[in-house]
Symmetry: none
Subunit: 527 residues, 2 copies
């Protein structure tokens, strides 16, 4: 079993994707999930490009990771600058990350036409930067940018670049197929040449999917001797995206006799795929390999009867091995056993309620068909389970709310002068409370009104803070009357939790998610 190391670039290359913007909290939650999945290296981004990235490296240092190493990303020192005087390298060291990845040029024309310096200076920049970072006690990956185009144009120079990195002590030299144009047979041949030229040097591979071959190119590199694979969850990335690290891992583990995260963790594959997509405010494409909802679904007339008699003929892998399910069952919670396990992780013992499990599964299925998604809404799921078990006691009940948004005059497109006011009428036990809250937006106003109404009864609400608010329009092509899904993340001093609300009305969807977030928080607090 060849051990192949996994290097995730979702937080850096993935975030380059059109349509993806991750908050600091998003990034930290993705780190947590990838660590639990068993990824070896998680690239966090540029440690000094903006306040969010600086804060990321501060926060992530305090996280108790059980397996993964965080990598800070940057470039070799600048031309004409010694590594000890280079601000970029200082930022990498200052990030506190145990691993650093520096990108350097290996295509002669990139050096002379884009970087505007000499080939010798480029070699110096690589050699001295790697040596400097190694001397700081860091694990160093050298990302050989445009390596395959560079090798085709000038093999001697491209090899000289990676040899410089190798001799300077780079722990891994990751060959980057930067513009995504190479095909598997080219990648395999070139990686083999490098492996022969640098015996004993760990090599890695970083591919983009512009020719539709990113996964195959990555596998071809492994066949030729690479033992580190870079990629992003679901293949997110700029242009057509990066190699999908999840598909690569599944192919390596299930078809090429390699070990990446191990068979046990591999069952998290579909969950990781869905979690990261949801955190990016995207969906996993239905037809995504291994993790898509249709990946193990069958409808072909030709096959229907054959599947029953000979399932292995129509499943290239067991769906359970990657945490997916055969046929139309969309959710991670498709099977009773996994629902029981999920419930246990929320502190709810479903095993003692075997008779109710099917009804709960049916309810989840109906809700998911209506637009709910429980992948990132543990709080709402826990409340749903408690309702089915008769263990749910509402802390308050709504009589009515009214939200008013007032706006005056056109004051230009950057205007922030609209005011929102929410009045809610709430019952706690036999008491009735009326409270009004204001906010910059209608949901903030509702949140303020609700807290004001119940704070006397439930002071724990003051410990809770809304930290994330996501809106997704489902069936977007029906315009403003489409179904809206709102996902809210709330935290108190000990944990954070997600809740979900769905409605044709964006305010009502927000309210439902808000109520769940407070209810679940109060339940957790024992209120």
């Amino acid at each position: 079993m060849t051990r192949i190391f996994t290097y995730d670039s979702t937080l850096r290359d993935g975030e380059q994707s059109e349509g993806i913007a991750l908050s600091l909290e998003d990034k930290l939650r993705i780190v947590e999930r990838l660590d639990a999945f068993g990824v070896d290296f998680i690239e966090g981004g540029y440690p000094a490009s903006n306040p969010k990235d600086i804060a990321f490296f501060e926060r992530v240092r305090a996280m108790p990771l059980k397996h993964a190493s965080i990598a800070a990303f940057g470039s070799t020192c600048k031309k004409g600058v010694a590594p000890e005087d280079d601000q970029g390298l200082a930022d990498l060291v200052g990030s506190g990350a145990p691993a650093v990845t520096i990108v350097g040029k290996t295509w002669d024309e990139q050096v002379t036409r884009a970087l505007l310096t000499t080939l010798d200076e480029n070699l110096r920049m690589i050699r001295e930067s790697v040596a400097y970072l190694k001397a700081q006690g860091l694990r160093v990956v050298f990302d050989a940018e445009h390596f395959f185009d560079g090798y085709k144009a000038n093999p001697d120079f491209a090899l000289a670049c990676v040899r410089a990195a190798s001799e300077a002590g780079a722990d891994s030299i990751d060959l980057c197929e930067t513009n995504g144009g190479a095909l598997p047979h080219e990648v395999e041949e070139i990686v083999r040449t490098v492996a022969e030229a640098l015996p004993g040097q760990q090599l890695g591979i970083h591919c983009h999917d512009d020719s539709g071959c990113a996964v195959a190119n990555t596998l071809a590199a492994v066949r030729a001797g690479a033992t580190q694979v870079q990629g992003t969850v679901n293949g997110f990335g700029e242009r057509v995206g990066n190699a999908d690290l999840l598909t690569v891992i599944a192919d390596l583990e299930l078809k090429m006799g390699c070990t990446c995260v191990g068979a046990e963790n591999l069952r998290q594959l579909t969950g990781v795929s869905q979690f990261v997509a949801a955190t990016c405010n995207l969906s996993v494409p239905t037809h995504h390999p291994y993790t898509g909802a249709s990946a193990f679904a069958h409808k072909g007339g030709l096959h229907a009867s054959a599947i029953a008699r000979f399932p292995e003929a129509y499943e290239h892998a067991r769906p359970e091995s990657v945490g997916n399910t055969q046929r139309m069952l969309v959710s991670e919670l498709a099977g009773k056993a996994s629902l029981v396990a999920k419930a246990a992780s929320l502190g709810i013992d479903l095993a003692a309620h075997q008779d109710k499990t099917q009804a709960i599964l049916d309810d989840i299925k109906a809700r998911e068909a209506a637009g709910y998604s429980y992948e990132v809404a543990d709080g709402s799921l826990a409340l749903l389970l408690q309702r089915h078990l008769g263990a749910y006691r509402p802390h308050f009940t709504l009589e009515s709310f009214r939200v008013i948004v007032d706006d005056h005059e056109d004051t230009g497109a950057l205007a922030k002068d609209a005011m929102s006011e929410a009045t809610i009428k709430i019952h706690v036990d036999d008491q009735r409370f009326v409270a009004t809250g204001e906010g910059a937006g209608p949901v903030g106003a509702l949140d303020n009104a609700l807290r004001m109404a119940i704070t006397a009864f439930y002071p724990a609400v003051n410990e809770m803070e809304l930290v994330d608010f996501k809106v997704r329009i489902l069936d977007e092509n029906v315009g403003t009357d489409a179904i809206t899904r709102v996902v809210i993340t709330t935290r108190d001093s000990s944990a954070s939790w997600g809740t979900v609300g769905v409605s044709e009305n964006i305010i009502e969807a927000s309210w439902n998610a808000l109520v769940d977030s407070i209810e679940y928080g109060l339940m957790r607090a024992g209120a």
Copy 2:
């Protein structure tokens, strides 16, 4: 230049995709388009499976195709039945299609466990069916089902099956990677073995994408000697889909020195991709190789300056060669030249206003920092430019609006009982209009009120329809007070356009995007 024949299975295997259902007219329009594109064979479906397919073959016989041949799809004769007595083969002949494709089993266990007959009988079914159809003067493709799994399990039997088809006169033997589990190196090795075993026999390849390698597997087969490639437009198909015929064609033409449709027709690639997707009521995925909207889009901070100096380093192919365009995401309209070009594409001549270009760029930059994104909001960008040029005349001005959302009682999480009502006060020239609209949600209510207020003055508003409504929360980790970005897509009979609004208040952001969508539509309509 090796000539590689293209065989499209969109109308048969593509229609197996979850979510795709094509009408007869849809199918005929796709045939017409694929024929113009230069595809060699178009598989039409089973000629007798249902009335729609029967009608298809009748109708398509009457179409004046300039290049493509239609193929009818079916199976070998049934076990124990002579070909001349087999209804399926009779239907194929009766379809009037000049080519027929018959699928047959080549995996020993499929024969004994699924088909429930002997290996010898399976060989007879293949041999006699091919010979029978050849005797009718048809071009015959033999689809060797499960060939790669079959070969791995019992190479002698798998080879005996394709040898039987070859000796009976099959024009092409297309090796099918039916369950999608094989990897490129396996495909290449096995196809090479078959090519050596059957010298002079045309071979084809049919792949599915379950391992994320369908395109690469297809290219590997071509390297090993296959000269016919099967696939579907955009890779549509059951489970995770088939090999994307378009990506395969582009890779073969641009990277492997082969000819499929020729360089001239290759420029239709993006158009074909969009046409077929739209006909299937789907969109081309933004990140699709070659034909997606992001396939040649750039925004990475690392690359921005390099692209300008050395474009070939970040484009693996010329976008024009496949009918796509390079796209600088507007955040990179940092340069005056690209802003002028973008304006020209919107029909606005900035070149005549050199003095204002810098102020416009500064404004765009400030707005993008505040949360605006013009990547998908050409309508708002055009209005912004017109405002700077003094060419913008507002069609109406807002005095005020008030939106009220009322909700009563907790009626469960699937409740849709909230009502929204919007009242707006608007001035058109010197007249004041007050109008109230209702809606399932607050934005729908505002939209209805606005249309009601201005319809008498601007009847063109009735031609416009909101078709898409997206909400993104920026800086999500500040909770419900975060900045909200709303992007709306609107269309009239001739075009569609995007507009964007940003505010701390989700209703105000929606209003701003809504106003831009109507203003731009009226400007386009000359109102």
